[in-house]
């Protein structure tokens, strides 16, 4: 038996197929992954993401610490509640994890890191924090629900504390509001509007059941993956890891190198830039029959092979799509090796669907 979230019983009630996910017993789907995917694109769905790890940082030098710890620059965060997506790098520029940082005050930040990387993240952050006198407090007891889709806010707001709901209603994307142990960000991992709610574990079942009563349907990890892939969002451990830099993962935009700020991994990234970044991260749309999957080899005329990092059948586009690491200089088309056959694919920017609409010509 794996670890269980405060909503495990609710998953069983909704007929979840439970699978092991990084040591957690989590719902893969509740009957049909495809229907769940469309539900989020067209209406509203709720994901239990309580396995994700919330970490609070407190200390006078918390801002200085984060400016050193991660590749994006928290000094960009000027208003309380503003969030920042960033990678945390090792000395070689490899990605230890990707995370969201919420700015509360210059001495108080909240981090949300991946569940599967928790065991390496916490010791790393704690070790680096010592020199800055910053306290690192994990909040494993808190539950987290992601409510996503065009109707997510309309269906979720009536269930929240009125004062908090009024703030959440006016939140701009990538901003958060909080009251006590309820913390709500206008963020997500689907390419749709929505919120992520961090809340006390004892309140989670009531919110979950209220959402279901309002027509928000439970969505499993299966649809979470196809939704994020359509949105062109990277998945840690699949699209990037300790060996790959943000520069070869289409995450260059999250690296702030404009000023002289010293952060872990900076020297390695500068060296990679100076030598010429060898690979680019692209989206692929399959033009023949089949399904693109992670680790398939991509053949590029006159250049080294590339590799698919994650691929799937896109329920929205009714076609197979993928994220791939390809040699720099790649053109508009490539060939993907699927079961010993070469199938043509179109190379595009790594983003396929936003707010229910196709971004493909």
């Amino acid at each position: 038996m794996g670890k269980r979230t405060p909503l495990y019983e609710q998953h069983l009630t909704s007929n979840a197929k439970i699978v092991d996910f990084g040591g957690w017993d989590m719902p893969l789907h509740y009957g049909s992954q495809l229907n769940e995917h469309h539900q989020v694109r067209q209406d509203a769905g709720v994901f239990d993401v309580s396995h994700m790890t919330v970490v609070d940082l407190t200390g006078d030098k918390a801002q200085d610490f984060l400016r050193y710890l991660v590749a994006n620059d928290v000094a960009k965060l000027e208003t309380s509640g503003k969030a920042l997506y960033t990678c945390m790098l090792n000395e070689n520029g490899g990605v230890i994890d990707d995370l969201i940082i919420y700015f509360q005050t210059t001495s108080q930040y909240r981090l949300v890191v991946n569940a599967a990387t928790r065991d390496k993240d916490i010791p790393w952050i704690t070790k680096q924090a010592e020199a800055f006198g910053v306290a690192v407090t994990e909040r494993p007891e808190l539950a987290m629900l992601a409510i996503q889709g065009p109707n997510a806010l309309e269906k979720a707001l009536p269930l929240l504390d009125a004062e908090l709901a009024a703030q959440v209603k006016d939140l701009k994307p990538f901003n958060a509001a909080w009251k006590g142990d309820w913390f709500i960000g206008r963020t997500g991992y689907t390419g749709e509007d929505g919120i992520e709610v961090i809340l006390p574990p004892e309140s989670a079942p009531e919110l979950w059941e209220g959402l279901l009563a309002n027509g928000v349907e439970p969505i499993g990890l299966g649809a979470r993956d196809t939704l994020r892939l359509e949105a062109g969002m990277c998945l840690y451990g699949t699209d990037m890891n300790d060996e790959t830099t943000p520069l070869v993962t289409a995450l260059g935009w999250t690296v702030a190198m404009q000023d002289e700020r010293d952060f872990i991994g900076r020297k390695a990234l500068e060296a990679q830039k100076a030598a010429g970044v060898p690979q680019v991260f692209k989206g692929l749309v399959l033009e023949g029959k089949g399904v693109l999957r992670g680790h398939q080899v991509v053949k590029v005329d006159g250049l080294p092979d590339g590799e698919i990092t994650s691929g799937t059948f896109s329920p929205t586009l009714k076609n197979s799509i993928a994220l791939a690491r390809l040699p720099a200089g790649v053109g508009d088309t490539v060939q993907v090796e699927i079961r010993k056959k070469l199938i043509p694919a179109k190379v595009i920017k790594p983003m396929f669907v936003r707010n229910g609409k196709s971004l493909i010509d």
């Binding site: 893969l28 049909s32 495809l34 089949g290 999957r293 799937t312 059948f313 329920p315």
Partner: protein, 127 residues
Amino acid sequence: MSQVKYTSSHEWIRLEEDGSVTVGITDHAQELLGDMVYVDLPEVDDEVEAEGDCAVVESVKAASDVYSPLDGTITEINEALEDAPELTNSSPMADGWLFKMTLANAADFDELLDEAAYKAVVEAEDH
């Protein structure tokens, strides 16, 4: 009454009146795989060997090989699956059939698993 047999790799095989067989994946298999999005079938006249991979069913989740249950020759494929792979979910043992084949040795059919033996295989996997 038609006779249906099974393999431990989750194919079903129905013996037809003319001595050929129809092959598909079992309800248990489709349930494990989830929503099907693509089916790659063999070609008519392909010669196939028992336990050799001859088709692929792909769900949103993963690709899975389908194995020929016996030695023989493909005579027909279910072309409806090209546009409607979900038939393997909704009707795995009828409209969602994959291919038909003639057998090199008709007697081989009797060697396949009967329903009780297949159920035992599924139960063993669940534990």
